[in-house]
């Protein structure tokens, strides 16, 4: 334990009560700890640190000293004795030593979870993310979160999330409070979050606190590391497809720090070499260039005891290119975010955060064919000013209130094409300028020792052609049956004013964000969840069981045969309907010890229906009835296990383990798909092809693909050289080599002497259904280091 700011008595005390406040940090690197517990046993009062590591705890005034306990999972619990006579600022640093046998490390997060009004929340430690085997050895925090109950992905290998029956565009993903519009690379196979740069990820599936809004189904709040303010340090890794390097250190020790973290894939370096070696071979088809990169940067400054300034930025892009003799093609897409935050402590009770964020997402496609060029792109930019207050009113009330205003700028389907000589040119696209705003108030209340209630309301509004407003009540309650068990319930209404134009179950970079307009109303949802949590096995295991029902309104879908690409009248392709979902999630988790992990099971159902088209002449077949969307998965089981073994000592002499074996297993009902049930022959007019197989599609998504099963295995060897730490990770993705269905298609069969591509009147002899999979067993080796 270290005390880095002298306890000071700075504010007048309140009659009979005093307030303790301060910041809890990691002793090793000075990073603030989010969600650390501060507890005073005599009064039973406790709290947790907020997103900035700040806490405010009100306890009874007295003449006898009391112990304040500071704890955080993976860190040594620290007791600090004070004389509770007046308000005090106590800044604390907690140190690790997790494997040091003589130190008791408390797995406090389970106990805190039992006491907390928060439910439907998942948190992931980036340390564990790196140990869990993933596709091509790329550790990915979104892929790991998909292993939690209620979080099925969009398709195999995808980082898309379909939370509790919500659509893929209903997830609010924020990085240092800046909205990330497209959180993935390479069509969703990898997320934009470089685990070396991420400090904390918190995901809400329900019971949303009032400070969050804008999406219906989940909130994924990602916080970047702040940078080591104690000493210069580096982290990195060399993997099969990418390498990473993070550098961080103090600008002024204890006062300010920086972090720069980059990641880039390098397949393009090899493909260029292969292309070059095959130059001149007329039979050789060059391999297109592809790479992506992420760059995270952050600096932060202590501006005295009461003020702290953070500046952070993220820049990521995918670049795809092909240069041929007659044909040049480039396609790039990416996000840029920037955040400036100023924390100010007005008093031990009142903490304020003023944030300005900027978010930008765009894609651009450019094609050049001899004498002709074609450019298409879309973009969205947000500039957001946000003010959040955290007020520890007394030991029974903690208030959060604030508001924000955002300017949105949408460029939808910008198109420009023409010949180089200017003889032919055309262009199209729509621009929208919109404003959104919200204000919120929430109060976390305690009623005796057993009851807690977090109630609030969010008022949101959006202006684009027309003003829409939404009243979003939120409430979450917990009843502690005893120290090891609690019952919970929550209700949340959410409004969403932006819609993703996408018909695919796969996240594509060309998916367009489209604002609410005169014709397109905001989506909204209501979710009720109840559940219980119980500690078992000496508080080592946490069982969570939740049940939810969700109603969705003004859901966006697209008419049959929607033309979503380069369409100036995109609204006419929309259909608006309703949806509902319900389900049950059960999990058992163990966070500490040599064997860690969780088992999760989800039983879920989601349906959508009562769709009406915006344009009366368009068709949304079967949309008046309720149907299952593609992502309706009835059952989902996930198992994650990590096991440390081979005792050794690290370079500080602390006990640790040499090896970690990790394994995951996922079983899930197959995705739903829409298949033809009939066919007819279409002769067409003079000059057109005869089509012997024109499919007649049956009921929407009535067919389910075969069940999904995949298990991954990883083994990590930890090394402790003099200069730092490193590990070698060997992982196998899809270790059973199961062929999971990515999609189905029907292949016509022809007689041996018929070539259908050359025969206008070719009639098949039969049809065969085929299943296409994406990934066989894939092994990868990654070397990670830290100094």
């Amino acid at each position: 334990m270290l005390l880095f700011g002298a306890a000071s008595q700075i504010f007048a005390q309140q009659t009979g009560k005093i307030t303790l406040s301060g910041v809890v940090k990691d002793d090793d690197n000075g990073e603030t700890l989010i969600g650390a517990t501060v507890f005073e046993a005599a009064s039973g009062n406790g709290t947790t640190t907020n997103e900035y590591g700040f806490y405010s705890l009100t306890i009874p005034q007295g003449n006898d000293s009391v112990s304040i306990e500071f704890s955080y999972v993976g860190f040594q619990t620290t007791m600090f004795r004070i004389l509770p006579k007046a308000d005090q600022t106590i800044n604390i640093r907690l140190s690790t030593g997790i494997q040091l046998q003589e130190v008791v490390v408390k797995a406090n997060s389970f106990e805190e979870s039992i006491r907390s009004t928060e439910m439907s929340v998942e948190e992931i430690s980036t340390k564990e993310v790196k140990l869990i085997p993933t596709l091509l050895g790329e550790s990915d925090i979104l892929k790991v979160i998909q292993l939690k109950p209620g979080m099925p992905s969009g398709s195999e290998g995808s980082t898309g999330l379909y939370v509790r029956g919500g659509a893929g565009d209903q997830n609010l993903i924020v990085l240092d409070e800046a909205l990330v519009y497209n959180a993935n690379h390479l069509f969703g196979f990898f997320s934009t979050f470089n685990t070396d740069a991420v400090k904390d990820l918190k995901l809400y599936k329900g019971g949303f606190p009032a400070q969050y809004g804008g999406r219906l189904s989940s909130v994924i709040d990602v916080r970047m590391k702040e940078g080591n303010n104690q000493h210069f340090a580096g982290t990195g890794g060399i993997g099969l497809i990418s390498s990473r390097l993070t550098l961080e250190g103090p600008i002024q020790k204890d006062k300010s720090s920086f972090i720069v973290s980059g990641r880039r894939t390098y397949a393009d370096i090899f493909t260029r070499m292969i292309n070059k070696s095959n130059e001149g071979d007329p039979e050789y088809n060059p391999i297109p260039d592809y790479y992506f990169y992420d760059l995270n940067t952050k600096v932060n400054f202590d501006l005295g005891e009461k003020d702290h300034l953070y500046l952070s930025g993220y820049f990521g892009r995918d670049v795809f290119g092909f240069n041929g003799d007659f044909f040049d093609f480039s396609f790039s897409w990416g996000n840029r975010t920037g955040t400036a935050r100023w924390n100010h402590v007005f008093s031990p009770k009142l903490f304020h955060n003023l944030t300005f964020t900027y978010s930008d997402y765009d894609y651009n496609i450019e094609t050049k064919v001899t004498g002709f060029s074609f450019k298409v792109g879309s973009d969205v930019q947000d500039a957001n000013l946000k003010s959040d207050f955290y007020y520890g009113l007394n030991d029974n009330h903690t208030l959060r209130f604030g508001g924000n205003i955002t300017h949105h700028s949408f460029g939808v389907g910008r198109l420009k094409a023409g010949t180089d000589d200017g003889e032919i040119n055309f262009s199209g696209g729509n621009d929208f300028d919109a404003w959104s705003m919200a204000t919120y108030f929430g109060d976390e209340m305690s009623f005796g020792e057993r009851w807690k209630l977090n109630a609030g309301v969010r008022l949101s509004g959006f202006y684009n052609e027309k003003f829409y407003a939404g009243v979003e009540p939120r409430a979450a309650a917990v009843y502690s049956v005893n120290k090891g068990m609690s019952l919970k319930g929550s209700y949340a209404r959410m409004y969403q004013y932006q819609h993703l134009v996408s018909t695919s179950g796969i996240s594509l970079p060309t998916d367009i964000w489209y604002p609410t307009t005169k014709l397109i109303k905001p989506q909204h949802s209501d979710q009720v969840a109840v559940g219980w949590e119980k500690l078992l096995g000496g508080n080592k295991y946490l069982i969570t069981n939740e049940y939810y029902v969700k109603w969705l309104r003004n859901q966006v879908d697209f008419v049959d045969g929607a033309q979503l690409f380069a369409n100036d009248r995109l609204e006419q392709e929309f259909a608006i309907g309703k949806g509902y979902g319900y389900g049950m999630e059960l999990s058992i988790e163990k966070q500490e010890g040599v064997v860690r992990g969780w088992i999760g099971y989800t039983l879920a159902l989601v349906r959508r229906g009562q769709f009406n088209t915006i344009d009366d002449s368009k068709v949304f077949a079967g949309g008046d009835r309720y149907f299952y969307p593609r992502y309706d998965r009835r059952h989902n089981v996930s198992v994650v296990v990590m096991y440390d073994f081979g005792e050794t000592r690290d370079r500080k002499g602390l006990a640790t383990n040499r090896w970690t074996i990790s394994g995951t297993m996922i079983y899930g009902s197959g995705d739903r798909t829409w298949l033809p049930v009939g066919r007819f022959a279409f002769q067409d007019v003079y000059g057109a092809d005869f089509q012997p197989i024109t499919p007649v599609y049956g009921q929407r998504n009535a067919f389910r693909l075969p069940y999904f099963f995949r298990s991954d295995l990883g083994i990590t060897y930890h090394m402790f050289p003099k200069w730092g730490e490193s590990d070698l990770n060997l992982s196998f993705f899809n270790v059973t080599n199961r062929r999971n269905a990515f999609f189905l298609y029907i292949e016509p069969q022809y007689a041996d002497d018929v070539k259908p591509e050359e025969t206008p009147l070719a009639i098949p002899t039969g049809l065969k259904a085929k299943q296409v999979s994406l990934f066989p067993i894939i092994g990868s080796l990654t070397w990670n280091f830290k100094f």
Binding site: I424, F565, V619, F680, T694, V696, Y697, Q699
Partner: protein
């Protein structure tokens, strides 16, 4: 503002999903054999009636009435048996225009110049009338009826066809097709371009479009540098109604969705109605301008 399309067998809007699919296909190929044959147990299917009737002024009335089949029903190996298997006979087909009934007899008809077939035919010629509706009524042998209404649109003539050789590779030429659009109306077009033959060659381009992007009169359709000296290029520009535009697009969207994980299947948007809801098809006028051009330097 003008309009231009590159060579493609599919509509411009479908290019992007197809491109992504090609990327995936490349990836899948690179990963080895990731395909396998499976058995699908599809639900029972009740066949529908399928109508194709195109009214071309100055040509005889013809109509093709067929039935659909369950998706995995076997295909007769003999082409004649295949055709007989899908034809629906013994129906009464009447097209009414300006109070005149045109009865189409149930007789096989093969147009020798187009090689298109019909099973209902009248030797009477379709009158050229752009101002009055044509009404179709089919009474099936089981008493069910299929109806539809359409109106023939006037031809929008091709202004000119220009063949240009590439400055650098002067052996290859592109073809530019100019059209004057009426900016005061929303018009729909189907564009086809064939090389050397209309009958037995698959079109180089075949797509529909509307005049959304056009804010002056002239639309230009183009190709890549795909033609060499001596080639014959057939430019065809159909002026189509919205119903045909929707039918054609939905039909080809349904066809192209097979095997494309990024495609969205769709129902066929038809303009025929039946008393039992089991008919699909198109009843429309056929107005087009076609220009044949021989590529010369």
């Amino acid at each position: 503002m003008k309009y231009f399309f590159q060579k493609s067998n599919i509509s411009g809007q479908l290019l992007w999903p197809s491109f992504i699919f090609l990327l995936f296909a490349f990836f899948i190929t690179a990963c080895g054999n990731l395909e396998k044959e499976i058995n699908l147990d599809l639900p029972a299917y009740q066949p529908q009636y399928v109508v194709e009737c195109y009214l071309e002024p100055g040509q005889p009335f013809t109509l093709l009435l067929t039935r659909s089949s369950a998706y995995f029903d076997p295909f007769p190996t003999d082409p004649l048996a295949y055709v007989e298997n899908i034809l629906v006979d013994s129906a009464e087909v009447v097209i009414t225009h300006n109070g005149v009934d045109y009865n189409l007899a149930n007789t096989p008809f093969l147009n020798p110049s187009t090689l298109k077939v019909a099973n209902y035919y009248s030797s009477q010629l379709v009158p050229e009338d752009f101002d009055n509706d044509f009404a179709l009524k089919i009474t099936l042998s089981n008493g069910q009826t299929i109806t539809s209404t359409t109106r023939i649109l006037p031809v929008v003539p091709i202004d000119s066809v220009v063949v240009e050789f590439d400055d650098v590779k002067d052996t290859l030429a592109r073809c530019l097709t100019y059209l004057t659009d009426d900016p005061s109306t929303v018009d729909y077009y189907r564009r086809m371009i064939h090389q050397n033959s209309l009958v037995d060659s698959i079109p180089d381009q075949d797509f529909t479009t509307n005049d959304d992007y056009v804010d002056d009169k002239v639309i230009v359709f183009g190709t890549g540098y795909d033609y060499k000296e001596g080639d014959t290029i057939y430019n065809t520009m159909f002026h189509i109604e919205r119903a045909y535009f929707d039918f054609w697009n939905s039909t080809f969207n349904a066809i192209n969705s097979n095997g494309n994980p990024f495609g969205q299947p769709s129902s066929i948007v038809s303009n025929v109605e039946s008393s039992d809801g089991r008919a699909v098809g198109i009843f429309t006028g056929l107005s087009y301008d076609r220009i044949m051009t021989v590529v010369t330097k």
